[in-house]
């Protein structure tokens, strides 16, 4: 069964355990600035929004990559950056309309969420179940995907 990250802003307290877990998983250090999941704070509204790649079907990043460095992990459906191939051209960072691929100065490559091979560290670390890794069909992160399909695809092309 395909599983996806389900991000629920209503449950997020903004503690950033997810950012530490992500950076530890990827870098072996606690470094929120290099986390691939990011929590945004809405001060006036008193809301927190954890945010990362939805692994969208359309995969603008993958399509935009000039050197085939972004591929699909067949078991998780994650769009994964192959660091050995990425040249750091950054085209994917402007192509992804969700802003979830970022250039990483330290490596000279881009970074994005790869679902940790099917066991996302962020979801494990989240104390409030604001981040869960669940059956893809049940995820409300369809909200993001619906947004993707509704607006971006529509803007770019529609099948009639």
């Amino acid at each position: 069964m395909q599983r996806s990250l389900y991000l629920d802003p209503a449950k997020c307290t903004g503690c950033l355990q997810c950012e530490m877990a992500c950076s530890y998983e990827k870098l072996g250090e606690f470094n929120p600035s290099r986390s691939l999941i990011k929590v945004f704070t809405f001060h006036e509204e008193g809301r927190f929004a954890p945010y990362t790649c939805t692994q969208c079907d359309d995969a603008w990043c993958l399509r935009a990559c000039p050197v085939d460095a972004i591929t699909i992990n067949l078991s998780t459906a994650a769009k994964v950056v192959n660091e050995a191939k990425c040249v750091g051209c950054k085209v994917c960072t402007i192509a992804c309309p969700f802003g979830t691929v970022n250039y990483v100065h330290e490596t000279g490559k881009v970074g994005k969420c790869d679902l940790c091979d099917g066991d996302p560290a962020c979801a494990r670390a989240c104390p409030t179940e604001a981040i869960t890794f669940i059956d893809a069909n049940a995820t409300g992160y369809e909200r993001m995907r619906a947004f993707a399909e509704k607006s971006i695809s529509a803007a770019n092309a529609t099948a009639s």
């Binding site: 809405f42 050197v67 085939d68 750091g88």
Partner: protein, 417 residues
């Protein structure tokens, strides 16, 4: 069904792959005209600094085309007979097609000045050009880069890293004039100078002549420069010469409709060669950028496969890394008349952000942006522009502080705040 795709850049390759997905049994032929397997020009700067080897520029793995059942030929196309639906190759062989995609890309153009044909004057477009430049751009070599546009700025870093004495000569008043305004272009120039590059703006090269073992480059201000290598990066033009006489309408690029179809119904055009629809203006023009090329490739292929898919236009956008300073532009980055805009300018930190908003009912819609410096989650600029989201109260907040763009995006797409 026989599909032929002329051009093996990113556009052609994506089109071939899309066709294979949608038409499992169709015969697909992809025709390139360089000796190498399909590769990406975007990767050349990284090849120049030995970050990758040549095969690191290849668009796909070796066996990819074979595995997908895509025939790949490397042969220049000399002509097309749209009446009998035949493509003629340089070796005089002919290939029949049912649907044809012209994705032949573009080529660099150089200004008609004296000495432009000298052996050590090169453009930087193909892998072969890159090999030549690698051979000539050695530590301590005097190199003159003609043009500080996209291509010029992309290869700037590789030249500096190769240790050459670099002078950039740009006839416009600033660097990357098609992407940055005076403020941002000026800041980028300051950055390059800080990094040890000589940058001459509002300056033209008038002639190049041989001088001893090198060359002498004459400037319109009366000065001259010594050069072991001159690299021209003064723009590109669509590759349409081979379409002469085919009946396919060309007007500074192949004319297409919003299904990327030419005036000949069985022929489509896409990528740098096509005058596709611009998302922001609704007009048809050549964008010559990578994301548009792959958009085009995909949509043209879907239509070729018999689907009816309308292209609503591609967003003109760019990202450049010039000696470590990132610059971005999206959509109508110069704005529209009467539209609101906001900028933040922090020259000490080499940071600049400028947002542009629409007018009338779109007064709270982001229509363009340009930035200098690191911008996290920058893709949402595309998201905001292409989805035409009304920012509502967030527009005021952005006018107050444009760095809150990501918050605005999340608030308005996740419907809180």
């Amino acid at each position: 069904m026989q599909h032929i795709i002329i051009g093996a850049g990113p556009c052609g390759v994506v089109a071939a792959e899309t066709l294979r997905k949608k038409s499992p049994s169709a015969k697909i032929t992809l025709i390139g005209n360089e000796p190498e397997p399909p590769y990406s020009r975007m990767a050349i700067p990284y090849y120049l600094v030995n970050k990758i080897t040549e095969d690191g520029t290849y668009l796909r793995q070796d066996q990819h085309y074979k595995e997908l059942g895509i025939d790949y030929l490397s042969q220049p196309v000399t002509s097309i007979d749209t009446g009998s639906q035949l493509v003629t190759l340089a070796d005089q062989s002919q290939l029949p097609y049912d649907k044809l995609l012209i994705a032949s890309g573009s080529h660099p153009v150089s200004p008609p000045i004296e000495g432009i044909d000298l052996p050590h004057v090169h453009s930087c477009w193909t892998l072969e050009d890159a090999r030549q430049i690698t051979a000539l751009a050695k530590t301590g070599s005097n190199v003159v880069l003609m043009g500080a546009g996209f291509i010029g700025c992309i290869i700037l870093e590789s030249l500096v890293k190769r240790g050459v004495n670099l002078t950039v000569v740009e006839m416009s008043d600033r660097m990357i004039p098609r992407m940055l305004n005076e403020t941002a272009g000026g800041l980028l120039k300051k950055w390059c100078i800080k990094k040890g590059v000589k940058v001459l703006t509002s300056t033209k090269i008038t002639a190049i002549s041989e001088s001893g073992s090198g060359m002498q480059v004459a400037l319109d201000n009366g000065d001259s420069l010594l050069a072991d290598l001159v690299i021209t990066a003064t723009g590109v033009k669509p590759n349409t010469d081979f379409l002469q006489g085919s009946g396919i309408e060309v007007d500074n690029g192949v004319v297409v409709n919003n299904r990327l179809q030419t005036n000949i119904p069985s022929v489509y055009a896409a990528g740098d060669v096509a005058r596709g629809k611009d998302f922001s203006t609704g007009n048809f023009s050549v964008q010559a950028i990578q994301p548009t090329a792959t958009d085009h490739g995909r949509i043209a292929a879907l239509n070729m496969a018999g689907m009816d898919v309308e292209h609503h236009g591609s967003l003109n956008m760019n990202v450049l890394d010039t000696l470590g300073l990132l610059s971005y532009s999206f959509g109508l980055w110069m704005g529209v008349e009467e539209g609101d805009s906001v900028s933040l300018y922090n020259p000490e930190a080499y940071q600049y952000i400028n947002l542009r908003f629409g007018v009338d009912e779109d007064e709270d819609v982001l229509i363009g942006a340009s930035m200098l410096g690191d911008t996290a989650h920058v893709g949402i600029v595309r998201g905001l522009i292409e989805s035409r989201i009304h920012l509502r109260e967030w527009k005021e907040r952005l006018l107050d502080n444009p760095i809150r763009l990501m918050e605005a995006y999340l608030a308005r797409t996740q419907e809180f705040g």
